[in-house]
């Protein structure tokens, strides 16, 4: 099922590695995934913007019945994270024990391997979120 082509990985690398979103130059709305037409005002005048920000979990699940290529990560924690800018994003959560998952958990973005790759295939990298590292 997971037939991935080099151009598909390459085409969306900015939005998947760096959470590159689009910003409407007319009304200021931020969109992730990046859009071609602003969904708030209909303008086609959009620029790129990187959203490398912390956020909070607003809802989450633990997927036991995983799609192909995700057996190693089951149960896969998946959440909707609300970033500081207000933009919401769907992200797997990593470096976390299932009991630690909760609504309101502060998380930050990092780069990880998204899925199990075939022996000869390309590796799919992308962002995941994880609980903040305690400093001090």
């Amino acid at each position: 099922m997971n037939k991935l082509s080099p151009s598909r990985i390459w085409r969306y690398k900015s939005s998947r590695y760096r959470i590159e979103a689009s910003k409407c130059n007319k009304c200021g709305a931020l969109h992730y995934p990046p859009r071609i037409v602003c969904d708030k005002c209909g303008s086609r005048d959009l620029s790129k913007i990187t959203l490398n920000e912390e956020g909070r979990v607003i809802t989450y699940t633990l997927i036991y019945s995983v799609p192909e290529g995700f057996r190693d990560q089951a149960p896969l924690p998946l959440a909707i994270v609300e970033l500081k800018s207000g933009t919401r994003i769907l992200a797997p959560i990593t470096d976390i024990n299932p009991e630690e998952l909760k609504i309101g958990l502060p998380v930050e973005p990092i780069l990880r391997r998204l899925t199990d790759d075939e022996n000869g295939g390309l590796i799919k990298y992308g962002f995941k979120f994880r609980p903040l590292i305690k400093q001090g």
């Binding site: 760096r18 990560q73 780069l111 990298y125 590292i133």
Partner: protein, 353 residues
Amino acid sequence: MKFNNVGISGWGVYIPKYRISLDEIAKAWGYPSTYPQGLNVVEKAVAGVDEDTITMGFEAARNALRRAGVDPNFIGAVYVGTESKPYAVKPSATVIAEALGITPKKLTADLEFACRAASEALGISIGLVSSGMVKYALVIGSDTAQASPGDVLEFTAASGSAAYVIGRDDGNAAAYFEGFYSYVTDTPDFWRKENAPYPMHGESFTGEPAYFHHIVSAVKGLLEELGLRPSDFDYFVPHQPNGKFPLKVARILGFPKEKVLPGLIVTRIGNTYSASALIGLAAVLEKAKPGSRILVAPYGSGAGADAMSIVVKDSILDKVGKAPTVKDYISRKTYIDYGLYVKFYNKLRRFKF
């Protein structure tokens, strides 16, 4: 080697959160329970299922950039030193650079020289910055070290990453390089052929003719060049394949134990290969007072060692807290058993259909 005015603008590390105790490994393979003590290592860091050299290198680099506080677009070179490349052919450095948003106008490559690769990259970067060819260089040492199940190497082969932003020794530099000396020979102590899944090693041959000979030679060479003695240094951070070799080479060279312990991180995270001495250096930078002089001596099988003298400056104090420290990453841990360890390192012969 001669160069001008080069320093460390920022540093960062990354250590995965999973740990497996050496006792657990000894139990799995029927080693005597006293075996781990002989290595002076308690537990080692294990990369999670979604981690590899590239993902760990990215985080260490991001931390280094935070501390450096420089515009990433001025980074003119990105080097990744590793012996566990996710792709045998396709550079890790380009993925990391892309994820940091700093492509395309860069010198970029992955380097291999066993555990010394990133250190070689430091030497190259010093040259690039000194000559003015680049403004800043980003050097990353990152490894998810692998060992054949049941082999003694499995006790220490660990995962981790360190990154350094090298730039001019200016007001922003946290420390400057006083000297850099490399000593390299063709010595086959530890190797992995093209299609072999795990490395081979020469057991005791990895000691005197390899690790000790090269580190001692490199350090002596540096001391002579700079006209310094061990007592001129506050810290000694050699490569750490286990918790015994660093203390022994320190004794041979005349560095007291107290100068080695602050940077001896192998006891808690294992041998992180290309990141080993560099994580040790970061641990020292995070505690050293301005004015301290540090001797760092990475070693890579095959074989070679570098010796570099680094002097800490005032501006280091503000930088420490800008990103998680070695101590922060070491305290972040979750223990796993041998079963999960095998799953994480993909040692099961799985048939993908």
